[in-house]
């Protein structure tokens, strides 16, 4: 298993597309969670509004604020990463090369998932470092005293962020196994995160049945988890306390396991061409 993991890691870090996704992801993070809100704060028309806009950008709010992007746009790019990693094996025909080489199918699959999960952990750490840096700079520029969240709160936020991204990457990976390739799986995954979850969010306020269904949606539950950690609710980020924090956590964990199991079952059962 360790050998397979190191083999998958080598494939992963040498792949240019991986670095493109990671670079774009970090750029979007800085733009959407730090830069744009900061510009909005600077251009606020009155001081009361400005104070409200500044509040979440300060280091004290770091734990919740840093992961506001994860449930929707952050998750969607990471879904692409998962689909790229598993799905390309079909397009290149490398799945048969790997599976007729040595590892059992499950070993291969879990080595791939472990690689994704560890890469996401690294990404979250870098993201938090960048967000902390940005929040400190913002606090300095606004002449606000530095006040940091507790280590526990930070660790919780990082773990929750990691879990949400792992859930979405597993959806991408398992869809790419279901559809034997990257294109359709990325398309459908993005439609789910960006369109379907959004439409459900809007319709939920109108139709009660949809509101009940929304409580069981992976995106809505990821948003609830982030909300429970102190992020401000906002429709564009998909952050809203639809369910309680603990229910949200359970739901995201279950979806993660479900998506992971889906890919495993299909990979093990299907013929490889």
């Amino acid at each position: 298993m360790l050998g397979s993991y190191s083999g998958e890691l080598l494939k992963f870090v040498k792949r240019p597309a991986v670095w493109v996704v990671a670079g774009v992801w970090l750029a979007l993070l800085l733009a959407f969670t730090e830069l744009f809100p900061y510009i909005a704060y600077r251009s606020a028309s009155n001081t009361q509004l400005a104070a409200g806009l500044l509040q979440p950008l300060l280091p004290a709010q770091l734990s919740g604020h840093a992961i506001t992007g994860y449930p929707v746009w952050g998750g969607s790019l990471i879904l692409v990463l998962g689909a790229l990693c598993s799905g390309s094996e079909y397009g290149w025909g490398t799945l048969k090369t790997m599976l007729s080489n040595r590892p059992g199918r499950l070993t291969f699959y879990f080595a791939q998932l472990a690689t994704l999960a560890s890469a996401i952990a690294a990404l979250v750490i870098v993201a938090f470092a960048l967000s902390s840096l940005a929040s400190v700079l913002i606090a300095r520029s606004a002449n606000v005293e530095l006040d940091f969240p507790t280590a526990t709160a930070l660790a919780q936020a990082m773990a929750a962020g990691w879990l949400i991204l792992v859930m979405w990457t597993l959806l991408g990976a398992s869809l790419s196994i279901v559809f034997r390739g990257t294109a359709l799986s990325i398309g459908l995954g993005l439609v789910w995160i960006l369109a379907v979850e959004n439409l459900i969010r809007y319709t939920a306020s109108l139709i009660d049945a949809v509101a009940q269904a929304e409580k069981f949606m992976p995106g809505a539950d990821a948003g609830s988890l982030v909300a429970a950690l102190g992020a401000a609710s906002a429709s564009q980020t998909g952050i809203a306390a639809v369910v309680s924090g603990s229910q949200a956590l359970w739901s995201v964990v279950l979806y993660t396991l479900l998506f992971g199991a889906l890919g495993a079952v299909i990979l093990v059962r299907r013929d490889v061409q």
Partner: protein, 307 residues
Amino acid sequence: MADVALSTHGLTKRYGKATAVDGVNITVRHGEIYGFLGPNGAGKTTTLRMVLGLVRPSAGTAEVLGRAPGDPAGLARIGAMVESAAFYPYLSARDNLEVLARHANVPRPRVADVLTTVGLAARAGDRFASYSLGMKQRLGVAAALLKDPELLILDEPTNGLDPFGMADMNDLISRLGHEGKTVLLSSHNLAEVQQICDHVGVIFKGKLVAQSTVDELRGSAVLVISATPIEQAEKYLVGLVGREKVSVERDMIRVNVDGHESASINRQLVLAGVEVHELRREERSLEEAFMAMSATYAGTRGGSDAR
């Protein structure tokens, strides 16, 4: 059956209504180079996929090195290239092999060794995507050799190779055979199979129609005789060896007898007053034998595509 490296029993694969592989029983013994022949679409690749555990049989079983197909412990002793060489395009040949080596827990220096074996050492740092067809194929064979496996399963390994590459590849496979490795080789190049294989299996439309040594498949040699008067010669030969062994084709008499009888037949014809212009021993090549079989089993020269 300790000497059997690979065997299949009624191996069958159906895709919908079509049967790609139909009750195939092949037996490959340890240390033998086994040629797996058949026209396009006959089911060779599908059989090899089932043997490697990539494709699940619809019926029947296979046993490879004493294990079920796809069992990691078995795969550790098998090197394979199925259909075409498929690797990560953005990685160099060296890195591609490194990935496989890590998965299979193969010591690092093996990578350089096998790259040298297939003649890719000079280009090992180039991306796979930039490789020519023949170079990709060589890398495929290098990957199959990586684990120093007991059993090599190679699906058309010379596909896309230049004449030097083919010669190298055939030398390599023969050498592996001499080193005691078992090789299951599918190929369309019958001259090369005739040269390097001990046993062959022939598959038509998913069915194994022959499995024997190369020599058995080629059948016995024939004597081709040109003599005048031809009627007298034919009559005499029929008397000598029997009607069923004598035929006349384009002014030549073909006699199905062992080559070592040629001198005595020559002498007897001359004694009988026939003038012998030419008498030679003609062997049927594997290719001729294969063509003759395809007329019987496939109806046409084509494979199951015409199904």
